[in-house]
């Protein structure tokens, strides 16, 4: 069980069992133990290439984002903890931190508001980041656009160049089908103060849990971008390299699977 691997996960203790961002290994242990049935029996996560994730030192795992709710991030974190005994630090939208209870829960399991200063502090401490360059538009893209990467933001590439951190491309195959989205409603979004609200295939009260799709996670070979972090073309090139690598891993995952549920 995953909880057994966690005591060995290193973290930057700020003195009272928490790191500066609020990560608590004991909370992480509880969260992973609670989510273990999801990882093992519900999504039946299978991963390939985890040896590309370094066991120590600063690195950035860059993956596609999908599925309305961020189960893909949770499964990636659990998989890296399981395979490499490391706590991934997901960079989340700043709005997550403003949510009562959820914001605290996310902090305790290692999520951090996605600002360059936070990312810099984590990379300097030798931590491993999880970045979804597609952001919120990624998890809310409609079913007809599944497995096609949306607008790919280059911030991760700049971070990698600035901090000489390798990028590990990763693809999550299966998550796109867990909550098929039929439409993004801008009108509802205006009501709740968001750009849009994704409407799943059934009304929300009838889809309290995601579909039991099979998750396949593919890690690619590390990319060590070269160039000046202040050179826009070098940043764009590194981001393009990563995007291509992730898209290739997605294509491989789609080729190798028999269907969404097995």
């Amino acid at each position: 069980m995953l909880g057994a691997a966690l005591p060995s996960i290193a973290f930057d203790d700020a003195g009272h069992g928490y790191d500066r961002f609020g990560l608590s290994p004991s909370a992480l242990r509880v969260a992973f133990a609670a989510a273990w049935p999801l990882y093992r029996y519900y999504f039946r996560v299978a991963s390939v290439g985890a040896e590309h994730v370094p066991k120590a030192g600063a690195a950035i795992v860059v993956a596609n984002h999908s599925g309305m709710l961020p189960f893909d991030g949770m499964m990636l974190c659990m998989d890296v903890a399981q395979q490499r005994q490391r706590a991934l630090r997901p960079l989340a939208d700043h709005a997550v931190g403003a949510l009562p209870f959820i914001g605290v829960a996310m902090q305790r399991i290692g999520a951090v508001s996605g600002t360059s200063t936070n990312a810099r502090a984590l990379l300097e401490a030798g931590e491993i980041l999880l970045v979804f360059p597609e952001g919120v538009p990624g998890i809310s893209k409609p079913a007809r656009r599944k497995y096609r990467l949306t607008h790919w933001r280059p911030g991760h590439a700049e971070l990698a160049l600035r901090h000489k951190a390798p990028i590990i491309p990763a693809a999550v195959v299966g998550a796109e089908e867990q909550f098929p989205i039929v439409h993004n409603s801008k009108r509802l979004g205006r009501l709740v103060g968001a750009p849009h609200v994704p409407l799943p295939f059934l009304p929300v009260p009838f889809v309290p849990v995601p579909l039991p799709v099979k998750y396949r996670i593919y890690y690619g070979e590390p990319i060590v971008p070269e160039g000046d972090a202040n050179d826009p073309s070098a940043v764009e090139h590194a981001a393009w390299q990563t995007q291509n690598a992730v898209q290739a891993l997605i294509a491989r995952g789609l080729r190798e699977r028999r269907g969404s549920f097995w």
Partner: protein
Amino acid sequence: MSRLKSALVTGATTPLGRSLCARLLASGCEVLAVGLEAESAARFLIPEAAAYAAADLAKPRELHDLVFGPAKARSIDTVFHLATHRSLGVEGERVHALNVEALRQLIAHCEAHPTIARLVYRSYAEVYRVDQRLPNVIDEEHPLDHGAGRPQWLRDRVEADGVACARMGMTKLEIAVLRCADVFASGTGSQIYDYVRSRVCFKPLGFDPMINLLSLEDAAEALFLAGAAERGQGVFNVPGADTMPLGLCIRSAKRIAVPLPGPLLLPLYALRRRIIRTEFSYGLYKGRMHFPGILDGRRAREVLGFQPAGVS
């Protein structure tokens, strides 16, 4: 570490001032302690080996005479400016004169002084803005809190910080601004210390931000190092060794944490301030009660060699 021979400390009768005087004397430095109190009263507060001068720094003439009188006679090389109004409840021109104008004039006098080479100004972590869109780790380039409707306590601190920063590198006087985390001790004007003095501490429901506390000894050490370092000009964050969630801080102080919806806390703490005349202001501290705002002490560590030891 040998450049610091003779120091002037304003605000010397405060807890932090006393700790700094003791640290300077322990290093073999001569100290001219400055306070508002008459010498007979101040003698109980400052170390015996320190010389003392009473001066009201809000009065320009007294400040001038201090710098070009006793400070000149003692060939002071470093000035530590700690004197500010601690109370949030007191406002007005006199408070501004001490918090801001005294620093402005002190810098001008130090620049014209024959022996003073460095001024170390104790600033506050509260000058930084904390909200959901900003980084949780606060480096020295983090935005300052210029929000409308902020109390004079904060406006003065932000202005004084800016006054000190604006003169950096303009003359031979080296200026170090130390933005210190909340000094968790009585009589320091600490918001969080005052907050946990209540038996019951109300906190926003659904939030448990990380906070950082600095001990008196660590604050004094950081100030000393800023005065003693060979290269000491600049702005430095001074975090403490204790970083923990607010809830744990309340439990460690053996207090009861009662989570309440955020909008209730503002009137509740305003009432508390009015009834029992406490210093904690929820309005001032609201951002830090919701979102982490931890000082990044990398620059102080690399340039000054400062590493916090912890709460004693």
